[in-house]
Symmetry: C2
Subunit: 325 residues, 2 copies
């Protein structure tokens, strides 16, 4: 399977190294909107300007779109889905239906197959919500994120005057997790589920009290949470806060039996040293599925919900039944 | 969707009560090899003799086979798959390929669709092994079972002379679980992963030391494990050991990155008050998927690996994308 990488940041580099771990895949090239000569790939894969992508329609089976959800993917995925089979990790939950409709239209027009929103949430967490609710229809879902770096919240802090750098960790509240696991079906407020830990490098002479106040009262991002702010040095930021780790928990509790007397807890959790590399692993697996489904004649847009798990694996049906079932 | 229940033990009763929790399903009847007049259903569903099943080909969309894997399903599933769309929970891992081949042949001959081995292991645990290995190809899988009742091990103890009743719990070793979660990729022996707790009601005057010795030295079942034997009264057995609870853990640890420097842990766990009722929930969800797939023209045998998750849900694609993705 010949893959292309479109966009070369953390996610693009993650896909590049994931290809080395998947012997049935190879890379046709990396495509960037920057000057190709200024981009050096990890493994020496050739770099092309994004405008050259049109020459690769016969040399790429699936193009993996590694742009951001805020400004890149809403235009990028529909634009490319007409000429390539594509996979993206679009993760703005509220806009998924609109994104799906645009990509579906483009892919059908071009007779191609696309998959949006691969990764872990949306992605593996979504799949676990779906499986669990199908098996335990009478129950309640809980999703917790963290402990991990939120890029959006880190960026929000960086926009405050006097802040040179910032890293924000989303942290699930252990007591809330335990209450959920107990099957007590608690109603949890935003504040009860997660806390927010902020590490901030301030400009010299900046008013630290004001920065802390501005963070803690910021609407949507921090005001509804118990937030702690710790000022650190640039060195400490580099040494202790450079990893893009993340993770979280999807838990469903439900009841069965004629008297609803039996309780069940389904829990799925991830502890990831590298959020973008795990997402890249998912992108490559779903690219494999899209390639197989396209060869069977499917076109249009799909999500992780529409993919039979066997299509994600390089193993045959016989091998899967003999060794993994 | 009109379901039939074939075989009416713990699993059949579980399906019967699961139907009440799934408003898009209804029951056409329960089929038993016993005398129908001697079987009383939980919800008043009519009971028929198994020999009458042939009259129901037009009145049942999916027949759920609730027999045991040791002696019932190997004959039952292929025999019925020619005339009905069927779902079973065949769980003898080593014999799955042969069972699959026989069911596939029968279903194709009759133009019907079948799914075998739904439940949690095989079933949800298998799915988690597959998803995790597709996303983290460089890693290692661990499956732990328990704490829960093993019917096979309980039966083995009951066959010992002087034993009136017995219940065996399989218990995962907490230290082994922790070692796996740490990402240390330990090589674990059978003894290091699970212990076995046996609760035994002995006949009056039986030689307890001999019974304990016979249990602990029983090959395959107990000899390779740290096994504890506790003699209890009949009342204690009834009061404290009547639940069919079970559960377990599927954990995959893997590495990513050019230097394989980033570790990831994927963990899926179940805590089930009722093993048969959870399995029944899975059977009904996969029956729904088989019904949809059959209406799209599919025939032959499938496993959980071949089912797109969206087909398990009563919700539409639009609803799933808007609310669960």
């Amino acid at each position: 399977m010949r893959l292309g990488i479109y966009g070369y940041g953390n996610l693009g580099r993650g896909v590049e190294s994931a290809v080395l771990q998947n012997p049935d895949t190879e890379l046709a090239g990396v495509f960037t909107r920057r000057s190709p000569e200024k981009v050096k790939t990890l493994t020496g894969v050739p770099v092309y300007h994004a405008s050259e992508i049109g020459q690769f329609t016969d040399r790429i089976d699936v193009l993996i779109l590694c742009g951001g959800s805020a400004t890149d993917l809403p235009g990028m995925t529909p634009a490319l889905a007409e000429r390539f089979c594509v996979v993206d990790s679009f993760d703005t939950h509220a806009n998924i239906p609109a994104h799906f409709a645009r990509v579906d239209e483009a892919a059908k027009r071009g007779g191609k197959l696309a998959l949006i929103s691969a990764g872990w949430d949306p992605g593996m967490f979504s799949l676990n919500r779906l499986y669990a609710s199908a098996i335990l229809p009478e129950g309640k879902d809980y999703t917790f994120w963290g402990r991990g770096v939120s890029q959006g919240h880190s960026d929000a802090i960086r926009r405050i005057e006097g802040v040179r750098d910032a890293r924000q960790y989303t942290v699930p509240v252990e007591a809330a997790l335990e209450a959920v696991r107990s099957g007590a079906n608690p109603e949890l407020s935003v504040r009860q589920k997660h806390t927010r830990e902020c590490y901030v490098v301030a400009e010299e002479g900046a008013d630290l009290a004001r920065i802390e106040r501005e963070i803690k009262t910021m609407p949507n991002y921090f005001a509804d949470y118990d937030t702690t702010v710790t000022f650190i040095s640039e060195e400490e930021m580099r040494e202790n806060h450079s990893k893009l780790n993340h993770g979280g928990f999807v838990i469903r509790t439900g009841v069965t039996g004629l008297g609803k007397q039996n309780r069940h807890v389904i829990e799925y959790s991830l502890k990831l040293d590298s959020n973008p590399e795990f997402t890249s692993g998912a992108l490559v697996a779903f690219a494999r599925a899209i390639d197989k489904m396209y060869r069977r004649g499917e076109t249009g847009c799909r999500t992780v919900f529409d993919v039979a798990p066997a299509d994600l694996s390089p193993l045959s049906g016989e091998e899967l039944r003999a060794h993994l079932l």
